[in-house]
């Protein structure tokens, strides 16, 4: 990934969106405890954590799906209370969920405007303005870099990256100031991940605040301005760009030891081979990538 410039200097003084010491419990389970997070205009904050670290719960609080049990949220420094996703949307906070944001069996333009349909006519004759919907959807998709010939095409015919792109374009069109991207690259191949990362950067360059959730350090490092780490529901610290490298990030996320162990095992195998010792054939080399991002895992819901 080239052309990853640092953030524009003009990052806002007041954070666009803050979580202040928020906690969330589900019965006896501590989902999130005492976590703070902020994102400023023109910044990308990467929220890093392993599966089960509480990333989803945290963003569900930021996007109005859950209310925090303790702590508070603030928009532009003002304390707010999001009782429903609509409240967060109205405050300019748009969340793009990894797989739940688009309907595969609806057309591109209908997906684009779901919940915000343009209408024409009055009273009982007020109806969906499909012409305008098609026109705007095509235009916005083009701005973000995807040519759509036919906006009546079902979203199920788009690739995973294109679906993410549609969701991002939609969020920006409807006035998002903060874009929360929930594991946007986890189900994507290498090339498509790069496209989505590029969208995150260009959104930041247009002055949006971006919260980028991932467990993939390779995706977070090149684009993040700040990094907030979650381990087992608690804050593992917030770091500035340049303060950390890949190994440190992995260690902080709690997966460091496992990866080091793996490394050690691999080295031992290699050494034995050099010495000509008979090595039992262990099929470790079968997957090219150890991470979840080898480009073949595609959790798209296909119609059956």
């Amino acid at each position: 990934m080239q052309a990853m410039q640092p953030a524009p200097a003009a990052a806002g003084d007041v954070p666009l969106l803050e979580a202040r010491n928020v906690s969330k419990y589900f019965g006896a389970v501590v989902a999130i405890e005492g976590v703070s997070l902020e994102v400023r205009a023109g910044q990308i904050n990467c929220l890093l954590g392993d599966n089960g670290a509480g990333k989803s719960t945290l963003i569900k609080m930021l996007s109005g799906v859950h209310l925090p049990d303790e702590g508070s949220l603030a928009v532009d420094g003002q304390e707010v209370r999001f009782a429903a996703p609509r409240d967060a949307l109205d405050a300019g906070i748009a969340t793009v969920y990894q797989d739940l944001s688009v309907m595969p069996l609806m057309s591109i333009s209908r997906n684009f405007f779901l919940g915000n349909e343009p209408t024409k006519g009055f009273g009982p004759f007020r109806r969906f303005d499909s012409h305008k919907a098609a026109q705007v959807a095509r235009e916005e998709m083009k701005n973000i870099g995807i040519e759509v010939r036919d906006t009546d095409q079902l979203v199920g015919t788009l690739s995973g990256g294109e679906r993410q792109t549609l969701a991002i374009a939609r969020a920006e069109y409807f006035g998002a100031r903060v874009l929360i991207l929930d594991e946007p690259t986890s189900a994507l191949g290498v090339k498509e991940s790069a496209i989505v990362l590029r969208h995150a950067i260009s959104a930041r360059n247009r002055g949006l605040g971006v919260i980028f959730i991932t467990h993939n350090v390779q995706h977070a490092l090149p684009i993040g301005d700040t990094f907030t780490i979650l381990t087992r529901g608690r804050a593992g610290g917030t770091f500035k760009r340049g303060d950390l490298d890949v190994e440190e990030l992995h260690r902080l996320m709690g997966g460091g030891e496992e990866l080091e162990e793996l490394q050690a095992d691999l080295e031992m195998l290699a050494r034995r081979e050099e010495l000509g010792v008979e090595v039992p054939t262990v099929p470790i080399g079968e997957s090219e990538g150890i991470g979840p991002d080898d480009g073949r895992l595609r959790g798209e819901d296909e119609p059956s």
Binding site: M103, L105, G115, R138, R149, G156, P303
Partner: protein, 353 residues
């Protein structure tokens, strides 16, 4: 749904290299109603041949056509609302019992309480619609599958209708005085006819047109598809998911009440057993019409055409001098063929893998 290519207006952008240009035929076949259309034509041809072989030309005479249109209309009146509900990802199995309930309410209002027929019809519509709202509320509040919830309310409503009717009138079949119906200002809306052309056919078409308009041309229609596609995503985008579902349950109940009014005005009676089997027949028409069981996809026009196919099959068998016992065999076969065809069409022409 405008099939706009919208060239010229905006830009001569180079098309994506992953999109093939497709023929007009393919685009037509990509519509959800395409399968139902093909099925209806197929059924017509089959029964035209069978009845000709059986030595009768009634099937394609005007009278024969009008008689299967009336049968199609009976189920068609509820097909539209059932299809909309299925597109929103829910079922209403209680619809058969609601038809019986609505008819009995008219009967009791008119005979036991001496109300005018029009008042009976209005009260029946209001009460039945309220039961639909209750269905919707239970589904939305409990989050249980509507299949189970409305299976339960199917038993409850059918049972309560029988028990209460027996208690109030001592009989389960209530004749309504034909004179009272003839003198009523609105009864004609439900039993008017010229020869074999019955007003039920107009109700079927009217409701289908309204359904097509709502689904394709209104915000609410977009919400219906969105709610069926993914309730959580729709909610996250600000769609009032619960309200959409409850309104659709109210809609199926209201359509059941309309059908009940048509039946009781036409037969001058109401009967607790009316509407039996309609729940599954209505779902059958919706499935023939391209609705999928998981929701988020389907067609109201398709469901209306599905009702037509059903009507042709049930009357066609009689005209072809085949024992009517074979009707269910034909119905089941029709359903299977339709599902396979719709599945194939969806994969092949709507571009979904």
């Amino acid at each position: 749904m405008a099939m706009t290519q919208a060239t010229g207006a905006t830009n001569p952008a180079p098309p994506s290299d992953r999109i093939r240009r497709v023929s007009a035929t393919s685009r037509l076949l990509g519509r959800p109603a395409a399968g139902a259309f093909i099925i209806a034509i197929f059924v017509w041809i089959v029964f035209a041949i069978l009845s000709t072989v059986g030595g009768s030309d009634v099937f394609y005479s005007v009278d024969g056509t009008l008689s299967y249109l009336d049968v199609a209309a009976q189920v068609g009146i509820v097909s539209t609302s059932v299809a909309l509900l299925m597109i929103a990802g829910e079922f209403d199995l209680s619809i058969g019992s609601l038809i019986g309930f609505a008819g009995i309410v008219i009967g009791i209002c008119v005979t036991t309480y001496g109300l005018p027929v029009w008042a009976g019809i209005l009260i029946s519509m209001v009460l039945t619609t309220l039961l639909g709202v209750v269905n919707g509320l239970i589904v939305v509040r409990t989050g249980l599958p509507s299949f189970i919830v409305t299976l339960a309310t199917l038993f409850i409503i059918r049972g309560a209708t029988q028990a209460l009717t027996a208690q109030i009138t001592q009989i389960t079949y209530i004749p309504i005085a034909p004179a009272a119906i003839a003198a009523d200002p609105i009864a004609g809306l439900f039993n008017w006819s010229i020869g074999n052309f019955k007003v039920s056919i107009l109700w079927w078409i009217l409701l289908a047109v309204i359904g097509v308009y709502i689904l394709g041309r209104t915000r609410f229609g977009n919400w219906i598809t969105g709610v069926g596609g993914s309730p959580s995503a729709a909610r996250n985008l600000g769609v009032p998911v619960a309200r959409v579902k409850i309104l659709l349950f109210a809609g199926t109940a209201l359509s059941a009440a309309i059908l009940a009014a048509v039946q009781s005005m036409t037969f001058s009676s109401s009967d607790v057993l009316r509407g039996q089997g309609y729940e599954l027949r209505a779902i059958t028409t919706a499935v023939i019409g391209g609705c999928i069981l998981t929701g988020g996809y389907g067609s109201v026009a398709g469901a209306a055409i599905g009702a037509l196919a059903l009507g042709m099959a049930s009357i066609g068998i009689v005209f072809a001098n085949i024992n009517a016992d074979w009707y269910l065999v034909a119905l089941g076969t029709l359903l299977l063929v339709a599902v396979v065809l719709n599945n194939w069409i969806r994969r092949r022409f709507a571009g979904l893998r």
